[in-house]
């Protein structure tokens, strides 16, 4: 077993130097090239003063350069903090300030937001893009560029980190309005990847999809699963995502052996019926995670691809990529029967318990807790939230164990497998994104044109998943349209968090305690929509 994530690449570079590590837009990078380039980047970061344990932000579209960034940061002994390039600068500023980053690796495509970020935080910029033209922005003057790395030594570095050092910090929506940073160590990731390589029998002839954006932790399995197996990582660039036929052609033409994504990509391809019977002859397995895949969509895929194995993975970012798995034994006949999240991955345990950490009987709804090798040390510099979500059990079946309280409701079936039943709080999932409605509400409260507002999520059975609905009362004499509100809110929140249904009201419905009655609100929305 290796001790640090970057070692898989160096190992492969020694064993099979010319094998391909990353493919992006037809351009291939070998393990040797990747190893050398990331040594150069690590040396540059160290020369610039980066210390072990520093958090270095990454603001790059998914690309070979972004993968170079991740590995270079790890080799320098630092942790990477992947930022969503589609996020407004105001929210990214909060992230940079929370993790106290002094450096950001950026490239073209994120130039506008980068300029704002530099102006707000003074963060220093390394330019990881072949296109140097935007490297000298008004505010964000890069201190080094990709071309400048060529003069740095390619020689391997002595490791500065250990297996318990943070490898990355990923920020998820926080209910009070501030995103929280989940710290994940090298050891956390290595445990999952070693399990997955063994369970899925990943070999060096494989070609794995890189579909998830790098700020989703599913991408960590794409990247390091490929490197651990000595396989090829085929990056699915964002422009393919809007075109289901191109996505299918990509799987076909790249001869992928593994596809891993959130269900929305699978829904989308099924909706447009772009999968032919017996399609993707090289594909061995299809994995999804992050949300429930509708059973009719699963049946669509399984009917067309009888040569492929289908596995549902489950797990929050706080427990590293996935903590449970279920390989579907055959095409479901009953389209209403739920697909379980299954059994725990090696080194992890799942507990369905009540509020007092006592087990509930099979079939009874309880709260889902996770224990084991995937558990994050906690939220970055946030002992209060860490203490709320990560608990030390002093009784019951998990006595003495450190547990992560997922906030998910679950039951144990007659088959001994765990079934997901929804959320215990107001967190929702939309197209794989994890959204705290509290964060949406906090942003709405910051708009001066509104006197009062409320957000509710309404589940839909169709393609969209849960939709976010906003009811609002405008300030007197203020004329606010949903289009204006959406535009103002988009300066504070990423696109996927913006409400899609709006309702202007004279007064929000209140219950006897004077609190906004979300149950009544929810009933009003579907009427408005239809």
């Amino acid at each position: 077993m290796i001790e640090r994530l970057q070692e898989w690449v160096s190992l492969r570079a020694l064993q099979s130097p010319d094998s391909v590590a990353v493919v992006c837009r037809g351009e291939k990078t070998t393990y040797t090239q990747l190893d050398a380039l990331t040594n150069q980047l690590a040396r540059m970061l160290i020369e610039k003063g980066c210390q072990r344990g520093d958090r270095i932000c990454l603001l790059l579209p998914k690309s070979t350069a972004a993968i170079v960034g991740i590995l270079g940061i790890l080799k320098a002994g630092c942790a990477y903090v992947p930022l969503d390039p589609a996020c407004p600068a105001a929210r990214l500023t909060k992230v940079v300030e929370t993790c106290g980053s002094e450096w950001i690796l950026a490239g073209s495509g994120s130039a506008a937001v980068l300029d704002e970020l530099v102006a707000a935080t003074g963060i220093r910029v390394g330019w990881l893009d072949r296109d140097d033209s935007a490297a000298g922005l008004k505010q964000a003057t890069a201190e080094f560029t990709l071309a400048g790395l060529a003069s740095v030594s390619e020689a391997p570095l002595d490791p500065r980190n250990t297996s318990i050092d943070p490898a990355y910090i990923m920020f998820t929506s926080g209910s009070t309005g501030n995103p929280k940073g989940v710290v994940i160590t090298h050891s956390n990731v290595i445990h999952f990847v070693e399990w997955a390589v063994d369970y899925f029998q990943l070999g060096d002839g494989e070609k794995l999809s890189g579909h998830s954006p790098l700020h989703f932790d599913l991408s960590v399995f794409d990247v390091f699963g490929a490197f651990a197996a000595g396989a090829e990582l085929h990056l699915v660039t964002p422009d393919l995502n809007v075109l289901p036929n191109k996505l299918a052609a990509f799987i076909r033409d790249s001869q992928l052996t593994q596809w891993f994504s959130v269900p929305s990509a699978l829904n989308y391809m099924a909706k447009f019926d772009v999968v032919r019977p017996g399609d993707f002859p090289h594909l061995k397995r299809l994995l999804w995670c992050g949300e429930v895949l509708p059973v009719p969509v699963l049946a669509y895929w399984m009917q067309r691809l009888p040569h492929v194995t289908f596995t549902n993975l489950y797990g929050p970012t706080e427990a590293t990529i996935a903590s449970a798995y279920y390989t579907v034994p055959g095409c479901p006949e009953d389209l209403r029967a739920a697909i379980p999240i299954g059994a725990p991955c090696a080194g992890e345990k799942l507990y369905v318990m009540d509020d007092n950490l006592q087990p509930v009987a099979p079939g009874v709804t309880g709260r889902l807790y996770i224990q084991g090798v995937g558990l994050s040390p906690g939220y970055y510099r946030d002992p209060v939230k860490t203490g709320e979500a990560f608990v030390q059990s002093s009784c019951g079946p998990a006595c003495g164990e450190r547990l992560y309280h997922t906030g998910d409701l679950a039951r144990v079936g007659q088959d001994g497998l765990v079934y997901f039943l929804g959320r215990a709080d107001s967190q929702i999932k939309s197209r794989g994104h994890r959204i705290e409605l509290g964060e949406v509400l906090t942003a709405l409260n910051a708009l001066e044109s509104l006197r009062e507002s409320a957000v509710v999520a309404i589940p839909t059975s169709g393609f969209e998943g849960a939709i976010i609905c906003c009811a609002y009362v405008a300030q007197p004499q203020r004329d606010v349209s949903p289009a204006v509100l959406r535009s103002e809110l988009s300066k504070l929140l990423p696109g996927y968090m913006l409400p899609t249904r709006w309702m202007a009201m004279q007064e929000l419905p209140k219950n006897a305690n004077g609190k906004i009655d979300t149950r009544v609100l929810k009933e009003q929305f579907p009427l408005e929509i239809s």
Binding site: V242, L243, N245, L485
Partner: protein, 87 residues
């Protein structure tokens, strides 16, 4: 060429269904950040409902949806084709 009311209908569709006001019928919806992978999906699904058409995967070219003008031309050609096919 699509007529004025169709432009207005699509503009209205953007403002009512997607809560986005589009500056002009020539605005590049992708460059302006109005359409991204999420809103594009909404757009396609809503266009299908609104204009009672079926949009096949092979027609999902970004060029067909780059501006209100192009969407109108696409919707016009499309409904014409479907009617011709049905006749």
């Amino acid at each position: 060429m699509p007529d004025r009311p169709l432009y207005q209908e699509i503009e209205q569709f953007f403002s009512e269904h997607l809560n986005i006001s589009v500056p002009s019928v020539n605005t590049d919806l992708f460059d302006a950040g109005i359409l991204d992978s999420l809103t594009f999906v909404d757009l396609v699904l809503h266009l299908e409902q609104e204009f009672d058409i079926h949009i096949g995967a092979e027609e999902l070219e970004l060029e067909n949806f780059r501006s209100i003008e192009k969407i109108a031309a696409f919707a016009t050609a499309h409904s014409g084709l479907q009617k011709a096919g049905a006749a």
